[in-house]
Subunit: 287 residues, 4 copies
């Protein structure tokens, strides 16, 4: 049984990690979040030590060096790299949410710390475990054509989003970095590396074209409810490849569990796997 | 349709209020919380204005005076009275979580502000809408005996609780004020006013006897899992009256909706209704 | 002897207010600041109650209604209006730092609260008490020409400024609102009302021309050390009127004391006095 | 020229460190404080990078590894050890305010990190550079008697102190740890190691007797103005040895400069030097 700590325990995505730790039969013995609304933890690991401050959490990891195997990281994007350093330095492997970092330079500096510490960074790329995406990759693995891909992803967010850290460009990286990262990674996993792009970014959207080795992708990401094709407040996702629509509305719930299973088997995605996508979101951000 | 604002929107109990506002067919148009994890609001009222700071929220209410009917308050206990003042001064009625305030003096000062503003404070006393409790009250309404009541309420909390605002005596008032308030109010609603008490308080428990007009209550409240009668991490609730056990494990989910329905009909519980209980929790806290 | 409370007690300008309260023979009995580095208060009023949270401070003012005469306000600019409302509602007159508010609309809403409460807002316009400026106003009081005024004010700030609330446009209003407000008010006090302007704003500067009734003002405000005429890190101030330089390097230290003396005599500057300047900084901000 | 970073730059004692860095001809190129009131830095090192968050500060140190020689630490006491770890891990030597840590265990864990990193911790023990104390040590260096020492140190603090981190026992360690540490270290430096003690601690005082190798110390530390021998709000310090009063009211201003000079020469006091005092304050705290 592996022993985990969790950074960002009060956040939206943290319960998926807690469930995955439980699902894989492991233990969560310390959590960190400046916000103390973490009562849900009682259903899973009520005896977890709780810390409000990174400093005291660091003391705990340091005093218990050798007792923690993994630190899972769900903090705001711009803090990921610092929290990974804290974890690696305390002798822990890392499982970090996406986007792993916001700049290629940050990724490179993590690589040097991996080497120094002998510990390893794993990144959550849950769409690579989605059945539809796996099937898609399989289907096109030997293609040598350039396919036409159209991606529409309209996932509306309320007013609060713009005033949260997610709406702060310096903290989240903006729409393309915070939401687009999933699709950019998934598409280049299927259709090969990025050759060029031409995009337009706004506070509520990112759209444009990305030329991959085997696909010309036209995408439209938006969090603006006005862009929805219906009146309901529910996300609209549509991917077509050469005009054929991909079934892509189900199958999201178990992906963190699958990610954890593979990571624990030593098959996690690491710094090199995510590097091209980090480069892409940084380039897209810079225009 | 009434227009609501909500203070403490990220907290544990806030979604019950949001649901009750929806359930009663009303609108929530502004929310306040220093913590920005309020994405659940999108399922209900995605167009709500979001504020991280009470100052900016106050500006919004002031600029829109006459447009807000109610402010619902779910902030940490020690902030309730300040948030009620903010609401009353902006011309709004109030619906506030329990314990309404931590000291009788705070309650009295709200009364003067109710008079000045013409607006009204409603307190959530949801157990008074629970069928079992209503039946109990009915059963004993004409009694003139002193009944024996035994209340055990073991509701375990993880380590985090002690390091959250709930574990900070100055902010929550401690176990008797934060958790016991429900039962003290409910029992005196059924069995009459407090005549005397003899209690012992700890960080994880409050226990003792309370002499009501028509009952001698022996109670044991605890958040310590070691006090549970079973190994599972689930709450143990048991109330007996003259040795007969009260059915009291179901029926909690709709109580905020029922509370809102009555408040909106003008039947809410106000400052006078909760005054004896506030006096009791203050007295118990002082020993 | 008047009794004061102070909001923003840890900030840069707060000690001037504390000194002015002492200088005028009055008492400071409560201070508020989320940051607890307020030890300097011990030299003046060691018995002041200290509050970290506006909510608890509000409770204190409310419980002691009638005991506080004035609230002095030195919080970040965007909080001024909320803190003035809090003060007026608790029956206190206000002495508020500049810029009083960031928008004309906020000023208007304060006017309605002045009327409701019978309490009054005073704004600190300390340059109107500077001997050189008084002399200047006297000199030109009967002019009916349009004079040429050139104002250079280079007051360098370190890197920290851009990452503090002062560098956050939404909180400070930017250079023209946060620093320029002094000069805009002073010049229109001397040369009459604003007729038109043509300005350019950057993160580190605001420059352009303002046409007043009796002056054509060419101004250059900057916090960029590269704009200094010398190598030293010290501010450069230069005002010329029709080519004559105004002596303006001394005489700043006592201006808060003088402001307080006049306010306490009932001669303070109020909402109407500052209204044109607030309109100007808002217009300049909007370009 | 050495390159410094500074943690806790907005705090009370930080300017002494900034002055010492300047005084010794070195450079300060990065500062950290969650509170942004650090404008005084412009008089010394206006080009210092400023960070509000330890995470971003850590990124900066990591990216510039090899460029920083020292990190000076003036944060609240309970954060010292975490900030020392952050500094050592980024390849920097440390100069840390007193009390270096609050528990012997924390000191021991720093020792292991010194060994791992090859970097060194220096602690500020400025009284060891005070002329009167040096003379005292000289005078008694060959003594083999047990002298009678009486220490009174009444240094009043206003109400704010109790509500600041300094009044929070978990953060400051209380009066004996936060204020007494100076005297305990100084006296055992002069009179030898602690053999036993009998003390009484309150929120506003610590008093009792400490038996050193060559002295029986009767001490009274207080921050309560009521304990002053005069009506003025100014500290009362009195040390007598065998009935003779030590001159001890002057000579405090240059001590940080002297400390830095010695540290830069490689003569700083390290973990072993402060270990007995840390043990003592922990023992005194535990009663």
């Amino acid at each position: 049984m592996k022993n985990f700590a969790l950074i960002g325990a009060a956040g939206y995505i943290a319960p998926r990690h807690v469930e995955a730790i439980k699902h894989t039969g492991n233990n969560l013995s310390a959590i960190l979040d400046p916000y103390d609304g973490v009562g849900y933890i009682d259903k899973y690991f009520p005896n977890s030590s709780y810390f409000k401050e990174a400093e005291r959490f660091d003391r705990h990891l340091f005093r218990h060096r050798g007792e923690f195997d993994y630190v899972s990281i769900c903090s705001p994007n711009y803090l990921h790299d610092a929290h990974m350093r804290l974890s690696l330095r305390n002798g822990c492997d890392v499982i970090c949410e996406k986007p792993l970092v916001l700049k290629l330079e940050h990724l490179n500096s993590l690589r040097s710390l991996e080497n120094e510490t002998g510990n390893r960074v794993n990144t959550i790329l849950q769409l690579r475990y989605h059945d539809s995406i796996i099937a898609l990759r399989e289907k096109f693995k030997n293609t040598n054509k350039v396919h036409n891909v159209v991606l529409d992803y309209i996932t509306p967010r309320g007013t609060w989003y713009n005033y949260s850290w997610k709406g702060d460009h310096d903290k989240s990286g903006g729409i393309a970095s915070n939401i687009g990262v999933h699709f950019f990674d998934m598409l280049s996993w299927v259709f090969g590396e990025v050759e060029s792009f031409d995009v337009e970014n706004g506070d509520l959207y990112s759209r444009g074209t990305i030329k991959l080795k085997n696909a010309e992708v036209k995408y439209n990401l938006s969090i603006d409810a006005n862009d929805l094709p219906w009146d309901e407040w529910k996300p609209y996702r549509c991917i077509t490849v050469d005009g054929d629509e991909l079934e892509f509305s189900e199958g999201f719930t178990e992906l963190h569990n699958k990610s954890y299973e593979q990571i624990l088997l030593g098959n996690g995605y690491g710094l090199s796997d995510i590097e091209p996508t980090i480069k892409l979101i940084e380039d897209i951000r810079n225009g």
